[in-house]
Symmetry: C2
Subunit: 224 residues, 2 copies
């Protein structure tokens, strides 16, 4: 009955679980591809595409086509602010969850994020690689350092194998609120971790469980 801006239209866009997950994933500021968002939301690609279309039409998203990839990002700080506000209310009225406590401890420590490792372990690893100057952090971007090629070759990872995708990318970690390493290099490292059987994936979950010796090996290689 009332006139005025169509707040129901906007709110209902955020009101779908799949779309909410996508928006949440984009809150890190990094633009993501449709496939990544589909995984993030837990829906198929066609479904994700449909959702993205609606979010675009609603003006909540922008898109940048790069080759055959389409990078979706939040339309602006105002949209991000709105999501923050909604999150605040949801937190306030939501089930009084125990303080940052170990809701799902394993997930906080290490988990899969698309095709690479996320969680405390992943954040620590990126920190260490940057500290050792193997990787160079430059604002939003991450680049290979001078010793990167030899450093990773020693571990059995060729940083130049799949040049199609960006080799490195920063990806914001929801549990730690800091970045971890994505891109082909991040994917290769996760692949190695699983191939060496340092860790196994929890069934039907994104959690990654390290075995005690596996953890030692990982720390020796990436955190020393």
């Amino acid at each position: 009955m009332r006139e005025g801006p169509d707040i129901a239209r906007i709110a209902s866009l955020v009101g779908d679980p799949a779309r909410a997950n996508m928006l949440n994933a984009l809150m890190g500021g990094t633009a993501l591809t449709a496939s990544e968002l589909a995984l993030e939301a837990g829906v198929s690609l066609p479904t994700a595409s449909s959702h993205l279309g609606k979010l675009m039409e609603g003006g909540l998203l922008t898109v940048a086509s790069q080759g055959r990839h389409r990078y979706y990002g939040l339309a602006g700080p105002q949209v991000a602010g709105m999501i923050e506000a909604i999150t605040g209310v949801a937190e306030a009225v939501g089930p009084k969850r125990v303080r940052p406590g170990p809701r799902d401890g394993a997930m906080r420590v290490a988990r899969v994020c698309y095709d690479h490792l996320a969680g405390e372990q992943a954040v620590a690893m990126l920190d260490r690689l940057v500290a050792k100057n193997v990787l160079v952090r430059d604002e939003q971007e991450i680049r290979l350092g001078p010793s990167a090629a030899s450093h990773f070759a020693a571990i059995g990872i060729d940083v130049y194998t799949k040049p199609r995708r960006p080799v490195c990318r920063a990806c914001l970690d929801w549990s730690v609120r800091r970045s971890h390493l994505a891109g082909t290099l991040g994917a290769a490292i996760l692949e190695k971790i699983l191939a060496e059987k340092w860790a196994r994936r929890e069934k039907d979950s994104r959690a990654v469980i390290f075995s005690p010796p596996g953890r030692q090996a990982f720390e020796r290689v990436f955190l020393s």
Copy 2:
């Protein structure tokens, strides 16, 4: 897939047009009854009751029972802030409507708000009544002034006829962002306006159209 506060749940509560209208109506800060909100949202009472139940369960509303009335209000400033944020986005991305222009001119000038008059005419009327000290504004409340009884009696309105409901109440006008007069007195005045045929109601709309002589009469009685 992502953990975290259930933002979709909250957003979907706001995402229904009926509920959005209710929340919008409550943004004025005045608590309203279920019937008033049903009218505001343009739905039947049972439907409104169901919506209110959901908003309560979601923690967005509080309720205060007074006799057989139940006054619903926003749960707090955080909720109001969230609605503001959503409204901001909706305004920004919405159809670039012409500046406050006469979207529906008649509605801005005068319309029905539940059982009383709203719009520019109503706001002007309340201003004038307060200026003449017939009514006394005291913060949120409006009370009868010393000359109120005689003043309204002269027009043929008995301010003491229906003591069940508050005689006066402030109601925020969405188009002008200022208050107009609600309560039994507000209702009685609207009744008189229609009874005297100073104005007629637009079919299927809340607009109230004054005839030229009717407008003069109204201005003589209430705006002089």
